[in-house]
């Protein structure tokens, strides 16, 4: 009798979260799968089942593959930059003795700003007419004419990746710094007594302690960065000439530009399958690390 009551109580506690998850995740998720098999159009009242036609159309579209490879480039470059920068900042902060709190606040600022503010600020900074970065380069005599950061295919992509690294590195820094502070100080002291070099200390003491945290951060950031929409859309809209078009923007254009919600849903389902596969690989690696550390 006691066991049954206990069981119901557990469900009562879980139910609110379950309902929220159902509304916020399961319904949109299932509706996306459902619509991906229909010719649902945002400005037409009726729709019908079309089987795999949307998937065929999407996979045959060169713009889909271009967006996919742009997304891969965007994610890998952003992630590597964010992790390296976050890692470097965390290691540096961990050694700082005075005003650590001030440096922490200053470094976390990019993360604290709403994306829309960041996007418009950078758009303003990089603008070829009144942006102060291009004009400053000319004033300093480094360039003869103001560079066109956002109207050149390569520069536009590089600028967006740089902004994303600048934006995401503080989050990595805070988490790595927390992990660094859990490394027992006596292990460092023992290593120093044994004459270990700085690299050996990092390789055999620091890294094993923080690699699980870094691994989980990489998983989370991969999903976030791959799905990132706002920074790119607000700064370049996927342009110029699709140079910064990634899969989320492609899906948005398909759904809210072309109104082809069915086809847009097929893109999001493919995106989900790809990210799920990536996550499985990541978690397999992390699980292996966990087993090794035990």
């Amino acid at each position: 009798m006691y066991y049954r009551q206990h069981n119901y109580t557990r469900w009562i506690f879980v139910l609110p979260a379950l309902l929220v998850v159902s509304v916020l995740f399961i319904y949109p998720f299932l509706s996306s799968i459902f619509y991906s098999f229909t010719n649902k159009n945002l400005i037409m009242p009726n729709y019908s089942f079309v089987g795999f036609a949307n998937y065929q159309a999407v996979l045959a579209d060169p713009n889909f593959w271009m967006s996919f490879f742009n997304s891969l480039k965007w994610t890998v470059l952003s992630l590597v930059g964010q992790v390296l920068m976050g890692f470097f900042l965390a290691l540096a902060l961990n050694r700082v003795k005075r005003f650590k709190w001030l440096y922490k606040i200053l470094l976390i600022i990019p993360w604290a700003f709403p994306t829309i503010v960041i996007a418009f600020s950078w758009q303003w900074i990089l603008n070829g007419v009144y942006g102060y970065l291009p004009n400053m380069l000319v004033e300093l005599g480094l360039m003869d004419i103001a560079p066109n950061f956002l109207s050149d295919r390569t520069w536009a992509f590089i600028c967006l990746v740089f902004i994303n690294i600048w934006f995401g590195a503080p989050m990595i820094m805070v988490n790595v710094l927390s992990a660094l502070q859990t490394v027992p100080a006596d292990q460092y002291e023992a290593a120093k007594i044994d004459g270990a070099s700085a690299w050996q200390i990092f390789r055999y003491i620091t890294l094993p302690h923080i690699k699980l945290v870094v691994g989980l951060l990489v998983v989370l950031r991969t999903i976030w960065v791959f799905n990132n929409f706002d920074i790119i859309y607000l700064i370049t809209g996927g342009g110029p000439a699709n140079a910064t078009m990634t899969l989320p923007i492609y899906a948005y254009d398909m759904g809210w530009g072309s109104k082809l919600l069915g086809r847009s849903s097929a893109v999001t389902v493919l995106l989900f399958i790809f990210l799920l596969t990536i996550c499985f690989i990541y978690f397999a690696i992390i699980n292996r690390w966990e087993k090794e550390s035990k």
Partner: protein
């Protein structure tokens, strides 16, 4: 066993939800859709979505709602404000989820899409109660299908050419009357930190489509054929594409490849461009950003291909309001809408953006209360030019009457991507146009197939 219990709990919930939904549908059948009589007691809460994000216009609407609530204590008006781009996303997704307001503003192209979806209620009774003859017939017809009017115009504006008079005078140049003259003049003025004319091609707005449409309409053509197919490959349209590519390369900042309407207008507001194409909203922008330039700007007719060509019908926007079919209180919505046309309030609303919003109701522009605004007085010439363009023009793609295809041209931004392809990748204009035309016509086929 546990699964059985779960479903035994779930079933009543689903049944309950179905009953509730059924109740809603039932109650909708009893909705009063007719225009209420004067003095009739009104009851109900309504939601109004509008796109008047700027302070003065927003304040007029809010004050109107407060006064309406005071007069009708059983009415509550909830106002939600969205930018035009957000608004389009909001209502298209809202239609799928049933989350649409009672009344809203709209763009002319949106209205036909809304009617096509079956999402609007007719407003003939509202228009008749204000006075059908007070509105320009063309503006009413933009929201009409099957003899019924589904939208009511609130204000009008049109695209004209904005000029920096001081720069022209400094170089002793006349106001260009043809596209070739505009090219020559703009090129001469592209120096000393000023660009002749910025050519915007950002793929999150319709600006390149607008510029191309101005050129094509000035030559008597259209971006839609008579059988409502997209035309980007005819000689006239190709000339237009090549013209704007040349202007981009020689008179425009390179960043304009990503510009939307605000970024484009900001250049003119700040005195960075000698020419621009826009409505009377330019005046307010210049006043806010560079008031010292206010005496130096004016509006002129959009250039023609040849000076002796007939005056073309270009782009007019009659910004309308609509009542949504899902509304539970359309009578309240219509009664509130009618109060926005009360003469004093209407003039106050129009004066929130002087010369930017021209009256949709005849006779208002002659009222002394309207004319006594300093900016209306100062920009009398510009107002005359815009008013003339309003009379002649249509929304982009409406040259053959209101149609849902026009929305595809303006809202997909495929023409903007075509321009980007030409100027960034160096793609041949005909090749890029064929690709864009095919893409747009495929989308039209999808709509037509239903």
């Amino acid at each position: 066993m546990k699964l059985k219990k779960f479903f035994s709990l779930l079933l009543p919930i689903i049944t309950g939800a179905s009953v509730l939904t059924g109740c809603n549908e039932e109650s909708n059948k009893n909705v009063n859709t007719t225009m209420p009589k004067d003095g009739q007691e009104l009851v109900g809460n309504i939601t109004f979505w509008h796109s008047f994000t700027q302070g003065p216009r927003l304040e007029v609407i809010q004050k109107a709602a407060q006064e309406f609530e005071q007069k009708h204590p059983k009415v509550k008006i909830k106002i939600e404000t969205f930018s035009w781009n957000d608004f389009y996303t909001k209502w298209t997704t809202g239609l799928s989820s049933g989350n649409v307001p009672d009344l809203s503003t709209a763009l002319p192209n949106h209205v036909v899409e809304m009617i096509n979806f079956g999402a609007l209620q007719p407003l003939d009774d509202l228009i008749d109660s204000i006075g059908r003859d007070k509105f320009a017939e063309a503006s009413i017809n933009e929201g009409s299908v099957g003899g019924k009017n589904y939208s009511i115009p609130l204000y009008s504006h049109a695209q004209v050419m904005w000029v920096r008079k001081d720069l022209l005078q400094k170089h002793n140049l006349p106001v260009p009357k043809t596209w070739d003259e505009l090219y020559t003049t703009a090129k001469m003025l592209t120096k000393e930190g000023v660009y002749g004319l910025s050519v915007p091609m950002g793929s999150n707005d319709l600006m390149a489509t607008r510029f191309l449409n101005l050129y094509v309409r000035s030559g008597g053509g259209s971006l839609l054929t008579k059988d409502l197919k997209v035309d980007l490959t005819s000689p006239l349209v190709q000339d237009g594409i090549k013209y704007w590519v040349k202007m981009y390369k020689e008179t425009s900042p390179k960043d304009s490849v990503n510009y939307n309407v605000l970024q484009q207008a900001t250049l003119y507001y700040q005195g960075k461009t000698a020419f621009d194409f826009n409505s009377g909203f330019q005046i307010g922008g210049v006043k806010a950003n560079s008031p010292q330039l206010l005496d130096m700007i004016d509006a002129y007719p959009v250039p023609k291909i040849n000076e002796n060509d007939p005056t073309p019908a270009l782009e007019t926007s009659n910004i309308p309001m609509v009542v949504w079919k899902n509304s539970k209180h359309p009578d309240v919505a219509k009664a509130f809408m009618k109060t926005l046309y009360d003469k004093d309030r209407y003039i106050t609303f129009l004066k929130a953006v002087p010369v930017g919003m021209l009256p949709a109701i005849k006779g208002i522009s002659e009222e002394s209360a309207y004319r006594d605004d300093p900016l209306v007085t100062q920009f009398k010439h510009a107002e005359t030019i815009i008013a003339d363009a309003v009379q002649r023009g249509t929304a982009i793609g409406y040259e053959h009457g209101p149609n849902v295809q026009a929305g595809v041209i303006t809202n997909q931004h495929i023409i903007e991507k075509m321009f980007q392809d030409i100027v960034i990748n160096g793609t041949d204009p005909m090749v890029a146009a064929q690709k864009a035309e095919k893409e747009l016509n495929n989308l039209l086929d999808i709509i037509s197939a239903k």
